[in-house]
Symmetry: C2
Subunit: 228 residues, 2 copies
DNA sequence: GATCGCATTATGTGCAGACATAATATCCTT
DNA sequence: AAGGATATTATGTCTGCACATAATGCGATC
């Protein structure tokens, strides 16, 4: 029972796997495949487009479709709200606002946001707890110029959650790295001095202006998991 | 000039952003939107499907399409071959095979691969260098039962690259974490005793059987970067 | 021989109509 | 009132056709 675009995608993948179509090879045109599979070209197109998005195929107009030479695997991972992430583990979420003030950001932060170092930003330092244990230390700079007024009380409502419900669907970039805990972090989070922290850094933009830069320092044991 | 599915996607996003359609809200049906935008339903479908894949919308047959309550952001990142990654930085890649032997894997490895602890696997320990400096320590267990013979000389050809060209398009999962360097790792990579390593762990499967489990310990300073 | 322009071609996108599928809502029965 | 069969509805997918767009490669021109 063959016919759906998912069947076609599976068949194409199979041919690639068994090296019918080796890496770098040009595969038949959509029209040829449509005839072979006895379906419309749009159906073949749908299947091949999915595979191209997954990095398995490379497509160019006129040039045709070829099997990717070096299969740069693409992994997609979910970036949930912290509360949601903790509750998904069956733990209870709480947080404490440690610091809040307004002033010019450090130079690296300003440059990542593309703002002058003289810009006045809101700084928030929040510790998130899972079942009472330190889970992640959030240090955030907010650009008040682009935020809808009035700002909430960040001691009562995590900036994390206020943003996702008030700045819908912004873009940005995310970076992961590992860093040794600073003395300050070790103290706050109750860690040994040289603990390895998993760091997530995120810059968020509206179409025009930077909104926020956030650095999340995750306690040891934290993992980001993905299904390919 | 409105009409393409990308324009429709943009317009829907705009309405979500300005809270015309707040989170949790049911938006008009594809047919209604098609009439409003003066296009075919298939075009609206394409736009809404993309937004649903991005996690912005939630769609269910008959129930309709609603704006996602908690926008679980999805980030996609590229997982390149190590050599490629180093060369993309303009550095030269080299590697040294430190260990190779065959035997039963440690229990955690066996369980992640779904194999009995008595299985005989090939163990490889490889240090990858960027411009002569330790870049990443690769520890890998290979399942010889599912590998095409003959196996190459892993001292001459990195397992990393041999696999991508000989096991086309397998599936698997990836996990990222941070760990303090062990004494062994610190020595091999020339690090201070408590350096924070960025760890990538990857399990790879064919349709039926596990192929390999690999742990990559990246030298301090390593970052995984993403554009959302 | 080098360059520009044009025809060719494969993919990208669009449209109108149709049927499939899943999930809800409703009605009927007990 | 509870339960199950059925109608309804919104999305999911397919078809066949059309035109748009980009990139290649050929040929004409200088």
């Amino acid at each position: 029972m063959i016919g759906g675009w998912e069947d076609i995608r599976a068949e194409v993948l199979r041919r690639i796997r068994v090296r019918d179509w080796p890496p770098g090879d040009l595969i038949p045109t959509e029209e040829a495949l449509a005839i072979e599979f006895g379906c419309a070209r749009a159906t073949v197109n749908r299947a091949l487009r999915e595979l191209a998005e997954a990095g398995v195929l490379e497509r160019r107009r006129k040039a045709g479709t070829r099997v990717a030479m070096l299969p740069i695997r693409k992994a997609t991972l979910d970036i949930p709200v912290i509360r949601q992430e903790i509750e998904a583990r069956g733990q209870t979420h709480a947080f404490r606002l440690l610091q809040q003030h307004e002033g010019p950001p450090p130079v690296p932060v300003a440059s990542r946001l593309g703002l002058p170092a003289t810009a006045r930003l809101i700084y928030l330092e929040t510790l998130h707890l899972a079942d009472g244990q330190p889970f992640v230390l959030e240090t955030r700079w907010l650009n008040p110029a682009v935020l809808p007024a009035p700002l909430p009380d960040f001691a009562a409502l995590s900036a994390n959650e206020w943003l996702v419900t008030h700045i819908a669907y912004a873009t940005g970039d995310i970076a992961f790295s590992a860093q040794t805990a600073t003395a300050h972090e070790a103290t706050i989070m109750g860690l040994s001095p040289h603990a390895a922290l998993f760091i997530t850094e995120r810059t968020t933009w509206t179409a025009e202006a930077p909104i926020t830069f956030v650095r999340l320092a995750h306690a040891p044991g934290y993992r980001v998991q993905t299904m390919v």
